[in-house]
Each structure stands twice: as C-alpha cells, then as structure tokens.
Amino acid sequence: MTRKQLFLLLAAIFLTLLPAAAHLSGNPYLLSLASRILIYGLAAASLDLLLGYGAMISLGHAAYVGIGAYAVGILHLHLGAGDLPPALALLADSTASGLAILPLAVLAASLAALVIGALCLRTTGMHFIMITLAFAQMLYYFFISLEAYGGDDGLSLMSRSGLPLVNLDNDTHFYYFCLFCLVLFLYLASRLVHSRFGLILRGAGDNERRARGLGVNTGRYRLALFTIAGGSAGLAGALLANHSEFVSPGLLNWTLSGELMVMVLLGGIGTLFGPVVGAAVYLLLEEGLNMYTEHWMAYMGPLLVLAVLFARNGLFPLLISERRRHG
C-alpha cells in the first residue's frame, strides 16, 4: 500500500465517520463546516484541472461557481412562485426537483464556460489571466443589476433541492451528498487526466508548441477542459447555494477566484486531491485565525507569500511522500 492509498483510506474513514463524531460531541456546526469544506474542495479541485493539467491560469473561476449557484436560486424562486415554463414541469415535484435543478446548474455553468472560454482562449499567458478575471467581473456586475433575482441583495432559498432517497434539508444527509459529489468528481477527474484526452492536455500544458507540431489542435482540447472545469465548478456552486440556502453576486467576486487559487496552491497543484486538503486548511485557518484576531488577512497575506516562495509543491505531496523520516 502506498502512502497515497493509505492517506486516501484514512481520509475516507475519517470523512465517513465524521457525522457520527459530530453528533456524539454535540457539535452540529462541525458538520456544516465540513460540508462547506467538501464543496470548496470540489470547486478548488475543478480549478486544479485547469491550473495543474491544462496550464490555463483562470482568475475567474468564481464566475462558474456563481452561475451554478444562481441557477439553483433562480429555479427555486420560480418553483416557489409556481410559474415555471411547462418544459420544466418535473421541477414541480418538490421531492425530485434536484434531479433537474442540479444538472441544469451544471449545464448553465458549462455553457457559460464554453462561451467565455472560446473568447478567452484566443489569448494565452498574461492576457488569459486578465481576461478571465475581467469576464468574471462582468458577470458580477450583471448579477448585481439583475433586479428580478434580487440584484445585490441576493436570493434566499426557501428549502434545499429535493432528491429521491436523501433529504438534503437534513444536515447529515446533505453532508453525505456533498461527500458523494466530491468523491464522484475526484474519481472521474482522475480517470480523465489519464485518458487520451487527459494525456493530450497534459502534453499541451507541458509544451504547447511541441504538441501542435505533433498534430494536436490544442485549442479544442483546452476549450473542452475549460468547459468541463466550469461545469464542475457549477456543481460546487449548486451545492453551495443549497448549503447556505442563499445566493448573491458576492459568490462571483474575484476574491473568491483568488481564494480558490490559494487552496489549489496550498494543497498541491496538479494533484486533484491536494486542493481538497488545501480547501480544508484554508477554511480552518480562516476559522482559527478569526477567533484570535479581526485582522486575520494581515497574517494570511504574508503566509501566502511565504508559501509561494518556499513551499512550492503544496501540502499534499508532503503528506503522501514516500520518503520516511527517522525518529
């Protein structure tokens, strides 16, 4: 058994038993925090597909999280008001609304990523970074002025999406559902990076010119990956909307894009599992520092700079390194 497998096994056991531990210790907040970590982990891992495997530095990933969340918010609003178009009649069954809402959220985010990606991928390097940021900011202002859906105030959900077999309004069920989504994503994503598609993308990320010289139309693969990552971020957004039962333009703000990037870096870029660890560390650090100081950003900033300068590979490779320490 490699250390990576051991780590994943332990993590799986820990995450499976967590709700029981939370109930025994009479601390339901732990569960809510853990769900949030899982959701941010999913969003960060989807960004890692872009950063770590596609060599696309998107500084606008929050936009797709936000679109996924808004899709849920908007559909729930119409569900509550009972004025859904007939095509979406399935939603009216509140016990199964999630079966349509969650895929629609993913679809919406994917479509947005497809269109924005097609524009952004005309550029590379620094242009790409700035343009993804600018488009995310444009969507941010779009949702702020989207008065019908709350504008800057955001939208409150009356309840969480309904699904057969699980009741998302129950925090434990919701936690396991998030865990399921994350595990499913990580499984599919790790298959993806070793598939033909993934091989070509990793090659193009490593050495774009060589890949083109071999006959690869890198643009198409990049766009496909950008769309997949956007859709996955949309799923994270849909879960986030259900988690806080609230959506607002704040989700699309560029600081969230930056934070997701920090999570990827902290956990280890190009490792898929690392960003989940990064999300846990970042959110717990935020919780922890917040308890001691209002000015936690003043510590987080330098910490981040130091992490970039000295811990280049992130935590996950450190955790699973085969090297044994003596003592």
Binding site: I131, G258, A298, M300, V305
Partner: protein, 304 residues
C-alpha cells in the same frame, strides 16, 4: 451638445487616470513578464500617504511628493523582497504571491489608518471651476488631473523615443534576451521600471485623493479597470496603454451618460433605466470582448 462636450472631458479625465495606472503596469508585464496584482496597492498607498501628509502639513505639493516617494519605496521593496524571486517562476506563483500582498496591504491600511475613509481636500488654488465655453463650467482640479496625465504621457513618450534608457526599456518589452545581450544591467533596470511603475500608480492615487474616497480596497476596483485597459492596448505597449485608457474612459463615461437616453427611445422609461444601468456597468467588458475578437493580442501588441 455642451453636455456631450462635458461628458467627453469627463471620459478623458477618467482615461488619463487609468493611463497613469496602466503605463507602469504594462511595462512591468511586458519587460519582466511578471503578473502583478498588487499594483492597485501602490495606488492606495499613494492616496493614503498623500492624504495624511496633506492633512498634517496642509501642502498639496508636499503631499504629492511624499506620495510619489512612498509608492516608489513600496514598489522597490515589493520588487526586492518578493517579485525578484518570482521572475523565473510560473505566472501562477506570481498571481498568488501578489494576491497575498493585496490582502496584507488592505489589512495594514485598516490597522494603521483605521476603518473610516480619509479626507483629502483640493488645494485652495485649484478649487472652483472655470467656464470653458459659455454655459460649460468645469472643475479646475479635474482639468489639472487631465493636464498632469497628458504631461506624464508626453514625458514618457520623450523618454522612450529620445533617451538611451528609454530605448533599452522599450527594447526590453519587445525582446528580453536582446536587452541582456546588449550588456544592460537587467536587475537594476527591472527595479527601476518597477519602482517607476509603482510611482505612477501612487501619483494616480494621490491625484484621485481629493476626488474619491481614500479607503481600504480602493485599489482593486481600479486594478481590474487597468487590466481591461492593458488587454485592450496590448501588453508592453505604453502607446497601447494610452489609447486603451482613453477608450475605456470614454466608453465608460459616455455609456453611463447616454445609454439611458438612447434606450428610452426604444423601451419604457423604467425598463430603459434598469437595462441601461446594467449595460453601462458592463459596457467596458463588452468593449473588451469586441476588441479581443478582432485583435486577440490587443490593439498595439509589443511582442511579435
């Protein structure tokens, strides 16, 4: 027509402020190939230091000088302590490190200067307005900002076309290896360019001080506008930055001023107002997307 002239001036004035921000940043991007998110923080530092000095000394000139000094110093420090170690690293590392710098600077201003915005007054000599055309009074201070921006643009143009160091910098933006081959002290050149870029941002900050609220986080909103300018103008091109800045300033101002009127011709007033407000806030991004479709590397790409 008078209104249109006034809005045109407003657009130009916003444009030159953006130019002060983007001129330095586009060179940093072009020459050092470093993405620097913390440029907005230099703008903020300029505004804060300027406002503080103006408050205590009462001299606007002193405020400007100290703001220039402080932002220059901050720029050189950031370059020497952090960015210098990142030149050969991934863009991603640069993004993250400078993101950390933003978090730190915003929180530090909050710790040092407190949570409330700072006050900075227009110097008495520049207060009031002049009548440019009959029926068109315009604040003197804004004219001064416009003039300073244009003067800086002219100065940069002279430096880049007439001086040896300017040629080197420009050559560096086009081809880095070439500059190294010419035997220029790259490390010194980098620090110089970075410091001057920060200084220009600080100048923009202190000039904006009397017009805008001096508050934590003021750098980010202008930073994103600056990015839009650079994307439109083309990385590494000062000329591109100037034209991009003016275009963005005009599109933003004219969009805000005239979109509601235009849309009222088509829609009911209430709908027109809200649609116009949304469109106006997205106008520059839509403009950027259009430029991008036609010229992916911006209007004046420096690299071939």
């Amino acid at each position: 027509m008078l209104l249109f002239c006034e809005q045109l001036l407003n657009g130009l004035q916003l444009g030159v402020t953006l130019f002060l921000m983007s001129a330095g940043l586009t060179l940093v991007f072009g020459i050092m190939q470093v993405i620097n998110l913390a440029h907005g923080s230099f703008y903020m530092i300029g505004a804060y230091v300027g406002a503080t000095v103006a408050l205590h000394s009462g001299s606007f000139l002193l405020a400007i000088l100290s703001a220039l000094g402080a932002s220059w110093l901050a720029g050189c420090l950031a370059e020497a302590l952090i960015l210098r170690h990142l030149y050969r690293r991934r863009h991603l590392d640069q993004v993250l490190a400078t993101f950390g710098v933003i978090l730190f600077c915003n929180e530090m201003t909050r710790i040092i200067w407190g949570r409330q915005p700072l006050f900075m007054d227009i110097p008495a000599a520049l207060a009031g307005s002049v009548e440019l055309l009959p029926g068109l009074p315009y604040p003197i201070y804004r004219l001064v900002v416009l003039a300073v921006g244009l003067a800086v643009a002219l100065l940069l143009w002279l430096i880049f076309t007439r001086t040896r160091i300017g040629m080197q910098v420009r050559a560096g933006a086009v081809n880095r290896e070439m500059v190294a081959a010419l035997g220029v002290n790259i490390s010194l050149l980098y620090t110089l360019v970075f410091g001057c870029g920060a200084m220009l941002a600080g100048l923009a900050g202190v000039m904006a001080g009397p017009i805008l609220a001096v508050e934590p986080g003021m750098g980010e909103s202008i930073l994103i506008l600056t990015f839009v300018v650079i994307v439109i103008g083309g990385i590494g091109s000062v000329r591109g930055a100037f034209i991009g800045a003016v275009l963005v300033g005009l599109v933003d101002t004219l969009g805000r001023a005239f979109l509601p009127l235009l849309l009222r011709l088509l829609l009911s007033p209430a709908t027109a107002d809200s649609v116009a407000a949304s469109l106006a806030s997205m106008a520059i991004y839509i403009f950027m997307a259009l430029v991008l479709v036609i010229k992916p590397k911006g209007l004046f790409p420096a690299h071939h």
